[in-house]
């Protein structure tokens, strides 16, 4: 694995909105490179442009200006259907409120993204079972979301995000709706994914979470004001320990 391999390049990204007759920039002149196996926290106060950046990175939205290359492809110029394909193949979403399909079982929820890729049902089931086992929910596959605890729901969402083996995992306040002990569990799971080579981007306003990430990107008023490497993070220590062993 080459740690310097670039996955995402953002160049002069701007997102302009009109609010009535007045326009404003939610993002302005963002330049950012994200590498394979990066473990990034995007922080910033409310209105700083975190969510807008998240939506752009997740290919849910187009930038008004600038260039967004995902694995070399300029996604800012793709049509809606191609963008849907990119979301399906390259991006795994994890939301604050889990966003599971309420009537579908855990297994069906995890199988869902594979439908849009045309994976036949048997393979879909098998891959979803593997993903659920990976997050420790092998015994809860037939439960619907409201039969699961918050932590379990978020694990289902993580399994769903992972089942397509995406290039990046985008988590928007993933622990925002969880209690502190569950937060620790979920973060441990993220750490493990990072160790396994997954690229993770987490939008958060919790310092604790940001501290665990390797890189912390801070936004303010739509501009990137700092991009710091977090050398003291637990995960870095763990990695060093791992490489020393």
């Amino acid at each position: 694995m080459n740690p310097a391999e670039i996955i995402i390049e953002l160049r002069s990204i701007a997102k302009h909105y009109m609010m009535g007759s007045e326009g404003f920039y939610a993002l302005n002149g963002i330049d950012l490179d994200i590498y394979l196996n990066d473990y990034i926290a995007i922080v910033g106060s409310s209105g700083s442009g975190k969510s807008t950046l998240m939506n752009l990175l997740g290919c849910l939205d187009y930038p008004t200006d600038g260039e967004y290359r995902l694995k070399g492809t300029n996604v800012a110029t793709l049509d809606e259907n191609s963008l849907a394909g990119i979301r399906n193949r390259e991006i795994g979403f994890i939301f604050q409120n889990f966003n599971l399909l309420p009537r579908a079982s855990a297994l069906q929820n995890v199988m869902q993204p594979l439908i849009y890729r045309g994976v036949p049902i048997d393979e879909r089931k098998q891959r979803a079972q593997e993903a659920l086992s990976m997050v420790g929910l092998q015994d809860r596959m037939d439960h619907v979301p409201n039969q699961l605890s918050g932590g379990q729901r978020q694990r289902v969402a993580i399994a769903r995000a992972l089942v397509t083996k995406p290039a990046i995992l985008l988590a928007d306040e993933p622990t925002g709706n969880l209690d502190s002990s569950t937060t620790v569990e979920i973060m441990a799971l993220f750490d493990q994914l990072h160790n396994d080579g997954q690229t993770l981007i987490i939008v958060t306003h919790e310092q604790e979470i940001a501290d665990r990430c390797r890189r912390v990107i801070t936004l303010k008023d739509g501009r990137l004001i700092s991009d710091a490497t977090n050398s003291q993070t637990v995960i870095s220590k763990a990695k060093r320990a791992g490489s020393n062993a």
Binding site: G58, L60, N81, Q112, P113, I115, Y116
Partner: protein, 411 residues
């Protein structure tokens, strides 16, 4: 990219799950379609059953049969004119027109002259005075005994062939053949019982008594010559047109009609009568179909309404699906399939209910057995699917065009 077939299969699976997850609501949604299709099928099955049995009747008559009846236009009738076909007309036709056979005069008598009595019991019926050739023309075969022959007619024998319903009206002890019963005060010997034909539209086709023409004529007395019908068979169908023309000319001459006067008779072939009948059935079906079509339309609007509610309710789900990689087309297809699925389900239930209702109507009333023609099945399914497509497209495109970010934020 997944194939369209794959998408349709997955769409159907998801539509099925969604429909059965909201079972009661789905049932109410599709109720309009159920009622619509059920009424179409019930109406069509009864009308078609009726039509099939009528066609059978006509088949028994043969397509080479011509019927001639007197005809008085309404206006003339109001002025007291009554056209008449006479026995002379019959004789003229029989002897002058070539290429025809079994020329049969028929006189039908109701009322006081058609009262039968047997050992103190009496009943009303219809007396049909006709020639022995009637049997060949209308394929009337006696179940018991025999039909009267030409010598019975010539010598004005007092013999009678009974419709089987007569036996229900008067209680004849022992074998009826050879016994006597009175018609309008005159005694007749029963020589045959016709085979049963059943009821048609509540009208008993077996309630009649057949007498030789000349005997009937005598029974009626000589005061006024009765108005008769004349039926005949054309030997070669190719001559049908020519023979009709010949009959027309002959009757016009006989009735001394000048060029300005319209025919005072009607020449009808079995085919023509069948055509007329089919036209009536066709327009009845069309009108009834139109009325129930409106109910299907209302059903469709109901489906659209619920689908629109459902799209709003599932906005967030749609957002999730889009985030997971669903394209506009995937979402469009999913909702469209759901609408069509609902309608087809309604169509199927309606079809079964409609056929059940049609059969029930036929059983309870005296209408012929209900039949559902294939075209009605195909049409109602096609129509249901069409309604699903038409009324599903608006909600489906509303769903497909949702912006994923807005949809994900929707509370």
């Amino acid at each position: 990219m997944p194939s369209l077939a794959f998408k349709i299969i997955e769409g159907t699976r998801s539509a099925g799950q969604s429909i059965f997850a909201h079972g009661f609501r789905s049932f109410l949604t599709t109720l309009g379609i159920i009622i619509g299709v059920a009424s179409v099928i019930a109406v069509v099955s009864v009308v078609q059953g009726f039509s099939a049995s009528i066609s059978q009747e006509f088949d028994g008559m043969g397509t080479n049969v011509i019927n001639i009846d007197s005809y008085t236009p309404r206006k003339a009738r109001l002025q007291g004119v009554n056209a008449k076909l006479s026995y002379d007309d019959f004789l003229e036709i029989k002897h002058r027109v070539k290429g025809i056979s079994n020329v049969t005069p028929t006189v039908r008598v109701w009322g006081p002259n058609a009262v039968i009595s047997y050992r103190g019991q009496s009943a009303d019926t219809m007396v049909i005075g006709t020639a022995s050739t009637y049997q060949k023309l209308y394929t009337v075969y006696p179940d018991f005994g025999r039909f009267f022959n030409s010598s019975d007619d010539k010598s004005r024998r007092r013999v009678a062939v009974l419709g089987p319903s007569i036996l229900n009206k008067v209680d004849i002890k022992g074998d009826p053949i050879g016994q006597y019963l009175s018609v309008s005060g005159e005694w007749f010997k029963i020589i045959g019982i016709a085979e049963k034909r059943g009821k048609l539209l509540g009208f008993d086709q077996d309630d009649f008594i057949l007498l030789p023409y000349s005997t009937t004529r005598a029974l009626l007395g000589g005061a006024d010559e009765p108005d008769i019908s004349i039926s005949l068979q054309v030997d070669d169908m190719q001559n049908m047109g020519q023979i009709k023309q010949h009959l027309k000319n002959l009757l016009r001459r006989n009735h001394k009609l000048n060029k300005e006067t319209a025919d005072d008779f009607k020449i009808a072939t079995a085919d023509q009568m069948l055509d007329t009948f089919n036209q009536i059935i066709g327009s009845t079906t069309l009108v009834l179909g139109g009325i129930v079509g409106i109910s299907l339309l209302v059903g469709g609007i109901g489906i659209m309404n619920i689908m629109l509610v459902s799209v709003t309710e599932r906005t967030r789900e749609i957002g999730i699906q889009k985030a997971l990689g669903a394209t506009r087309f995937d979402i469009l297809l999913q909702f469209l399939i759901e609408a069509v699925f609902l309608c087809l389900l309604g169509g199927l239930i309606g079809l079964l209910l409609g056929f059940g209702a049609g059969s029930l109507i036929s059983t309870v009333t005296d209408l012929p057995a209900a039949t559902v023609p294939m075209w009605a099945v195909v049409l109602s399914f096609g129509f249901s699917a069409g309604i699903g497509l038409i009324f599903g497209i608006i909600p489906a495109s509303k769903a497909a065009n949702l912006d994923p970010i807005d949809a994900l934020r929707y509370e």
